[in-house]
Symmetry: C2
Subunit: 229 residues, 2 copies
Amino acid sequence: MEGMRSMKRAVVLVSGGLDSATALAVAKQDGYDCYALSLDYGQRHRAELDAANRVAAHLGVVEHRVMKLDMGQFGGCALTDPSVSVPVAGYVDGIPVTYVPARNTIMLSLALGWAEVLDADAIYIGVNALDYSGYPDCRPEFVKAFQMLANTATKRATEGRPIILQTPLIAMSKSEIILLGTQLGVDFSMTVSCYQADNKGNACGVCDSCRFRRQGFAEAGVPDPTVYQ
Amino acid sequence: MEGMRSMKRAVVLVSGGLDSATALAVAKQDGYDCYALSLDYGQRHRAELDAANRVAAHLGVVEHRVMKLDMGQFGGCALTDPSVSVPVAGYVDGIPVTYVPARNTIMLSLALGWAEVLDADAIYIGVNALDYSGYPDCRPEFVKAFQMLANTATKRATEGRPIILQTPLIAMSKSEIILLGTQLGVDFSMTVSCYQADNKGNACGVCDSCRFRRQGFAEAGVPDPTVYQ
């Protein structure tokens, strides 16, 4: 079977949002056979997972897996805990209540496990530090620390073939991501960014994520395909 | 509520085995209110989870959560994939097929998320490097790398209060762990170490884990309470 592999492999974290769709398109452009991984972590906005399905099919992944993990039982986050409201008031100092504790650490750990089983060479994640909304696990320091962990944590790494964490959007603004995705043929109408989208994936237009997205399309001069509620 | 907290908190990974039971007893001894976390990752030896329940209750944790996560769907490991046999032939060079890809990385990431929600000060895990059976994610380098990741990944860390990863057994042999646990009042008859225990938790006596355990009791001069099949 190994002899039949003509392409290198990448695990790509696909959330259904604009950023991860673009990261997936970059991974394809970089010549990888792509394996999409989504996490069903009890998020309120289930429309995200429908979007992840559409995006993965649209961009031709080899396989798309959705892992179920009940992070909602930990509580403490507006995206998973119904007792915490999603903020709509704009920028506030510090880390917002939409921060899911250790989310990127957990998602990257799962991607690392699958990458090792697939003998994949890379993991792609669409984090970006500029529009990162104050999340600690979207910063370059975090990415660097996870790479160092991956360099010690896996069987591949002990054989001198560590899995490389790719963050192609890390230094890009939302408008730059939209321009890049548009060049690479991403259909952004399939993506959902809203923290409180309805069942059809229609956006609220007022949460932090909606505001970054809307502003990004405006700055990029690209027509915004988002359907608002 | 916060004002009522008289004790510092720790999340303790409890697998149902001998090592994690001892790590939990050490965390209690260190003065922590303990929150036990177990992962139901599709392991063959479900008797482990029953043992985790018994151990958590026996050692008086505040709360015990079992998170379900289907790592078996990744395949590639004898402990989760029914098509791979558990080895019984003794030590072989390199990393054994019982290695679960990125398991400790994944479990520590989940512990980190819960610890952040609980505002816990520490995470305890019962890894040890001497009897580590060749797993890359039981080595001191791995532990150090995860601590560095935790130092950048969480909201607490950005506030200068990183969560500390405690590995009290890292440099101990199996017999030393058994002596320590015995001193701290751990009832090892409640624990299950076997990779292929039956439904009652009775051990095969021939897998790597059974052999390390049996030898540990013999070297410690402590009666072995394990029931073999």
